[in-house]
Structures are given as structure tokens and as C-alpha cells.
Amino acid sequence: MKETKYWTGHILAGAALLFLLGFHFIYTHIAFLFGTEDNITESLSKGRDAQPVFLVFFIALLGLGLYHGLYGLKNILSELITCENCRKIVAIILTVVGILLFAFGSYSSFVAHKNATGMKNTVSRLEVNNG
């Protein structure tokens, strides 16, 4: 049943990625089709980083994408590798790589969020002082 758990996670992550990636593409890359301004400018990107909901969104997208992709890669590699012990080693390596990438990506998102929030506060203070 262990594999059923992983497989179910893989399927659910795939379904969730459809929505998350769909939202990401529509909001960020093809928003101009709906008459809104380009969403990939640095200031707008930093504006998104400052919002906690986008922090959660980015981390969810990262985690689900990594899990879905690396589990799929593990399945493909286990087809090519005939030695059972080598399969286990590959699975461990991919798990470690996935955790490290997730940790690094999450940390980057937090730093971006922190910087963007700090910058937003500074801009607000300057506006108050000038205004």
C-alpha cells in the first residue's frame, strides 16, 4: 500500500499543478490578453512577493512541482535500472535532492517576501514623510 500512497500523491499533485500553473500563466504571462498591463515588470513582481498569499502560492507550486516531477523521474529511472539496490539508492538521492531544492526554494521565497515587505514599508514611510 506504500506505493498507492505515493501514487495517489503524484496524481493529486498533478491535478493541483494544473490549477496552480494555469493561474500562474494566466496571471503572469497572458494577463495582457484581458486588457490589463504587463505583469512581469520588476515592481509588480516585487509587489506580488510582498503578499503572503503569493508566498504560500509559490511554496505550494514548488513543493507540488518537485514531488510530481521527481516521483515521475524515479519511476522512469526504475524502469531503466535493473538492480534493486541501485533503484533504492536512486530513490534516496532523488528524495534528498527534492528536499534540498524545496528548502532552498522556500528560503528564497521567504527572503524575497521579506525584502519586498521591507521595501514596501520603506516606500510607504517615504510617501508619508513626503506627503
Partner: protein
């Protein structure tokens, strides 16, 4: 008088006691209308080499003993007409994905161990099975869910055609998995949860990536590939607790089989 057509049979020979590696040997066999590959093998043994080994029994596609690789496709020797193969050269080898006992005889015991591991029988309470209070009535639709899988003769052709089994010998394979599914979808059965432990393991149904070769080569026309995909869905639904009716059907009196009155009790067992 017309000359008799001769067919060249290239047969892979291997005796683990004598040979280091398998090798091919060619035999000329006179063609006769209606001749099947099994007839040609008999001809070779009777006229050229009595040491040629293969397994067969019923000679009519029922027992599943004579599965072998004929012109690169796993099939039954007794069911394959030489005329339908075309050409004047035919290559015969033992089923791949199995160890070889000798010549064309594959070692099937591992396949049957996997088969036994998935409990290929109706799991019920023994007392209830013996109870004469009724019968397990099934509708035609319920029967159709598993009927084609009951045609399986365990010949091993699907196992030989499976590309996943070629790289992972521990993979359960199409025959045991489809037979597990045959009982999982049987409304009389109550053993699905137990089977899920085996079929949902790392060498179970999720290893299948739907190449579909097993269904293509099945000499009985069963569709193990489809059964495995259904099994995957059932495993996920079971894991997420999305299947409501978990209990197997109970004994009842089906239409036209109402309980008869004044039926004398069965005589006691004599053995």
C-alpha cells in the same frame, strides 16, 4: 505431381547441463494444410532429434502449456497455423522473461508463486459458503465486470510480452494482477483489502505503464492491460476511502430460484 512445400524451422536449443549458451538449430519440415506449430515440433522430434524439449498437453488452446515465442510473438504453438505465419522460415524460442528449463520449456514456477500471492479465489467466511440459505446472485452487468478475465489459461504469454517485467523480475506482472482484479470486482468476494497490500506494493499495479502488449498477445482475447488500469483506479479510490460499498454481496434467492418448499435434506457425507 506437385512438390511438397518445405518450411525451415529455426529452433532455439539450450540444455543447461551441456550448453554454455542457447543456440539456434534449423530443421526442414514438410508443410501440410492445417498444420500447426505443435505438429511441426512433433515432426522434428520424431524425425530429427528426440531430445527436443517443449511442454504441451491439450493440443486445443485450453491448458496453456505450449506458450512459446513464434516469429517474435508469444503465443500458443497448438493454436498457431503454420500457413498463417507466411513465408518459408519460422523462428521458435522459449517465452522471454522466464528462466529456461530446457530448449522451449520455460520455468513458470515464479509466475505461479506471484499468482498464489494475490489470493486468486473468492475470499469469504467458510461457514457462510457452506450455508444453504441461498446463492450469490449476480446481475449480467456484475458478471461482465470480470467475465473476460476468467478466460485466462495462465499460459504466460502476457508475462513474456511485458516490457516492465523484462526490467523488473519482481514485478507481479499482467497475469497475477489481472487475476487479482478478476476477484476484486467479483461482488461475491471480500478479499480486496488483503489483495491491495500486494497489488499496491512497489512491485504491483503502479509499475505498469500501459504498453498494452499483454492484451495484444493474449491467445484467449482477455484484456489484462485494461484490468490493471482499473485496478490502479480502485487502489487510489480505496486509499482515499471513496468506495462506499465495501461489503461483498450476501446470499439470496435470485429471480426464478425462490426457496423450494418440502425439499428433503441432503444425505450425510459418505467420505
Amino acid at each position: 505431381m506437385a512438390e511438397t512445400k518445405t518450411i525451415k524451422f529455426h529452433i532455439r536449443r539450450y540444455d543447461p547441463k551441456k550448453d554454455k549458451e542457447p543456440y539456434f538449430k534449423t530443421y526442414d519440415v514438410p508443410f501440410q494444410p492445417g498444420m500447426v506449430v505443435l505438429d511441426a515440433l512433433h515432426y522434428i522430434r520424431e524425425n530429427y532429434d528426440p531430445s527436443l524439449a517443449w511442454r504441451y498437453s491439450c493440443r486445443m488452446g485450453v491448458c496453456g502449456s505450449c506458450g512459446m515465442l513464434i516469429n517474435g510473438s508469444p503465443t500458443l504453438a497448438c493454436n498457431t497455423q503454420v500457413a498463417t505465419l507466411g513465408g518459408t522460415e519460422i523462428t521458435i524460442a522459449p517465452l522471454p522473461n522466464f528462466d529456461i528449463v530446457k530448449d522451449l520449456v520455460p520455468e513458470l514456477s515464479k509466475m505461479f508463486e506471484k499468482h498464489v500471492a494475490v489470493s486468486p479465489f473468492i475470499v469469504r467466511d467458510e461457514k457462510e459458503l457452506d450455508d444453504e440459505k441461498g446463492e450469490y446472485y449476480q446481475t449480467e452487468h456484475q458478471l461482465e465486470q470480470y467475465l473476460q478475465l476468467t478466460y485466462c489459461i495462465r499460459c504466460g504469454c502476457c508475462m513474456a510480452a511485458c516490457p516492465t517485467l523484462a526490467t523488473d523480475p519482481d514485478y507481479l506482472g499482467p497475469m497475477p494482477l489481472s487475476q487479482a482484479h478478476r476477484y476484486n470486482v467479483d461482488t461475491r468476494d471480500g478479499g480486496r483489502k488483503t489483495r491491495n497490500e500486494k497489488t499496491g506494493s512497489s512491485h504491483g499495479a503502479f509499475k505498469c505503464h500501459f504498453a498494452g502488449e499483454c492484451s495484444r498477445v493474449c491467445p484467449k482475447g482477455a484484456d489484462p492491460a485494461k484490468a490493471i488500469q482499473h485496478m490502479k483506479r480502485q487502489l487510489v479510490f480505496d486509499f482515499l476511502h471513496l468506495i462506499k460499498n465495501q461489503k461483498p454481496c450476501e446470499k439470496q434467492h435470485g429471480p426464478g430460484n425462490e426457496p423450494k418448499k418440502d425439499v428433503p435434506p441432503a444425505p450425510p457425507y459418505t467420505v
